[in-house]
């Protein structure tokens, strides 16, 4: 009997240092839909934590754009009892926030949101500087001045700008209002073309041909998922196409100032890191994207018949040719 006790003691001693060093975190993720930008956020988040030497096991859920499933994922995560929850995009973040209400045992679990344009309007936090409670995150509110500034470097006397978006996406609606405000100041008119599903993008882009100097696509999930149809129409009609996320430049937009969603994810990962080091989520202010990049696609520029100013080429962080 004594011998067994000794063996057990040795076993515990052998294991103790190992468990103390490699603390592993369990992270549950609720993503709204498969989408290159949102996938990049998740990858950035995971890569950052891996590089920081955090051992984490992930429970990744994807609602496949279904709100009912998003709700169920919320309760699913409450049952998984993770060490941290990450919600990607507005509907999933709202669903998780609501699931918390019914799971008092999770009240202390940190909840990070990411890729959310307006956390205030979405009801996730009431104060960006002091979110309070267990919630904070990163907002992808577009620095619209910078975006419009980029378009106007191509078209210094821009008169009409077409904006292609889904009127059913809360993020896009607030973005378009912002663009319209800038247009009023800088003297260009905004022409909307709205879609309600990806298959409308082709037709909506066609409706802009001949009416606008250039087309701008905000970070709209519906339009971006069918970006190729917009690229096709713009190439045929020799119409300049700009986007708000750099992933879209690789897919055929001329240029984007902005948003590298991969870096967005890394920034979210850095917040998670601070929480693991002991910070309370409610004390961390909601962050917005820190670094912007200019990506340029010279092939598309040529196909769409747009002259690229030399200064823009020099300022570009990444050029596809």
């Amino acid at each position: 009997m004594k011998r067994y006790g000794l063996i057990a003691l040795m076993f515990v001693l052998a294991c103790a240092p190992v468990t103390a060093v490699a603390k592993s975190y369990r992270i549950s993720v609720s993503q709204f839909v498969e989408h290159p930008a949102l996938d990049a956020v998740l990858k950035g988040f995971q890569d950052y934590l891996t590089e920081e030497g955090i051992a984490a096991t992930y429970n990744i859920h994807n609602a496949q754009a279904n709100m009912a499933t998003a709700g169920q994922i919320g309760t699913q995560i409450m049952g998984e009892k993770p060490d941290l929850i990450l919600a990607i995009a507005t509907p999933t973040a709202q669903a998780v926030a609501q699931a918390f209400k019914k799971a008092p045992h999770m009240r202390k679990t940190p909840f990070l949101f990411t890729a959310i344009t307006n956390p205030l309007e979405a009801g996730l936090v009431s104060d960006l500087e002091h979110p309070g409670g267990n919630i904070t995150g990163v907002s992808d509110l577009l620095p619209l001045e910078e975006h419009m500034g980029m378009v106007m470097r191509f078209f210094p006397d821009l008169k009409t700008l077409g904006v292609l978006y889904n009127a059913g996406e809360a993020n896009s609606k607030s973005t378009v209002q912002g663009i319209r405000k800038i247009g009023a100041e800088k003297g260009f008119e905004v022409v909307d073309a709205t879609v309600s599903k990806s298959s409308d993008v082709y037709q909506a882009t066609k409706s802009l041909v001949g009416r606008v100097d250039a087309v701008f696509i905000p970070t709209d999930n519906t339009v971006v998922s069918a970006l190729e149809s917009a690229v096709k129409v713009c190439t045929e009609a020799k119409l300049a196409l700009f986007c708000a996320d750099v992933d879209s430049v690789k897919r055929g937009a001329i240029a984007a100032m902005g948003f590298d969603y991969y870096k967005h994810g890394r920034q979210t990962g850095a917040m998670a890191m601070r929480i693991f080091e002991g910070a309370l989520p409610g004390d961390l202010p909601v962050e917005s994207q820190k670094t912007l990049e200019l990506h340029l696609n010279l092939v598309s520029a040529r196909q769409m018949g747009v002259a690229v100013p030399q200064a823009v080429v020099e300022a570009a962080d990444k050029i596809y040719e």
Binding site: Q31, E34, T57, Y58, N59, I60, H61, N62, Q64, A65, N66, M67, A68, T69, A70, G71, Q72, I73, G74, T75, Q76, M78, G79, E80, K81, T90, P91, Q94, A95, A97, Q98, A99, K101, K102, A103, P104, E121, A122, G123, L124, S126, N166, A167, G168, E169, A170, K173, S196
Partner: protein, 296 residues
């Protein structure tokens, strides 16, 4: 594989969407009127109740307002069908796509957040009941209540006219019943239930969103058929109850699919819909398997 929270959450969703499924059963099986309006009337109910609540109206009153809006939406479909002689499927599709724009109008945008406002859920702690199971009991009572009222209605004289309109419109016309007004009533009632379901889902989920109706009819029809397969067909009472149970089974299937350990099985999150479909197929196979077993 499936935690208690996920199971309770699935039952909750099953009950809430179950009210919608019973509504779909009413048009699809009882009235024999394939109605796709539901993809629009579910978010309509959500939108009306969410906007009402943010304007300070009591959550329960908001539910009644949602039902009224849903009834009106159903009536539009029925009027397009009966008065303008538009095929029922097309009539309902037209109403459904129109509702997309109307819902954005009602909400003044695509999404209205209910986080931080007082909803039905917040009334539970006030009434002295709390805990994770309380919401399930509340939703269970609501779903059961609505189903019982519908079953009772279908046994009244007017309800029998609805049944007859679906079964044998010629016979019921010969009895001096105006089938047009019966269709108006039936489709209206069905959509009132769907809107109620949407309003409850929005209050439960913390937001009304214009895209929350996508796939409603698919989930509704799947649930009706799952229920029928498990409980068998026959009688409206059995049909209504089967619809509710079918809805719960459908949501539990999704919860099971979510709970599968992705990493070890080489499933990815994008396989969710496939796995849900397979689990529903499995549920539908049970009667066959049962038959086999009894023969052995």
């Amino acid at each position: 594989m499936i935690s208690w929270y996920a199971l309770v959450g699935a039952v909750e969703q099953g009950l809430l969407y179950g009210i919608m499924v019973v509504g779909v059963f009413l048009t699809f099986r009882v009235l024999d009127f394939p109605d796709l309006t539901v993809d629009g009337s579910l978010p309509l109910g959500a939108a009306v109740s969410a906007v009402a609540i943010t304007h300070g109206i009591h959550p329960l009153v908001a539910l009644v307002m949602a039902m009224a809006a849903g009834f009106a939406a159903g009536m539009v479909t029925a009027l397009l069908n009966t008065k303008l002689k538009i095929l029922h499927l097309l009539a309902s599709i037209l109403t459904m796509i129109a509702l997309y724009s109307i819902n954005i109008r009602i909400m003044g945008g695509p999404n209205v957040s209910l986080l931080g406002t007082r909803t039905l859920l917040d009334m539970l702690p006030d009434a002295g009941v709390s805990g994770y199971g309380a919401a399930v009991i509340l939703y269970g009572l609501l779903a059961a209540g609505v189903t019982i009222v519908l079953i009772w209605f279908l046994h009244t004289e007017l309800g029998l006219a609805v049944l007859a309109t679906g079964d044998n419109p010629r016979m019921i016309t010969a009895q001096g019943v105006n089938t047009h007004s019966i269709i108006l009533l039936g489709v209206g009632l069905s959509n009132a239930m769907v809107a109620l379901s949407g309003a409850l889902v929005a209050q439960n989920q913390g937001a009304a969103d214009v895209n929350m109706g996508v796939g409603t009819i698919i989930a509704g029809l799947a649930s009706v058929i799952v229920g029928e397969t498990l409980l068998g067909r026959g009688g409206v009472a059995r049909g209504c109850i089967a619809a509710l149970i079918g809805s719960i089974v459908y949501r539990v299937a999704i919860a099971l699919a979510l709970g599968l350990k992705w990493g070890t099985f080489a499933f990815t999150p994008s396989d969710l819909n496939l796995i849900t479909a397979l689990l529903v197929v499995l549920a539908l196979m049970t009667p066959f398997i049962k038959k086999r077993w009894s023969r052995l």
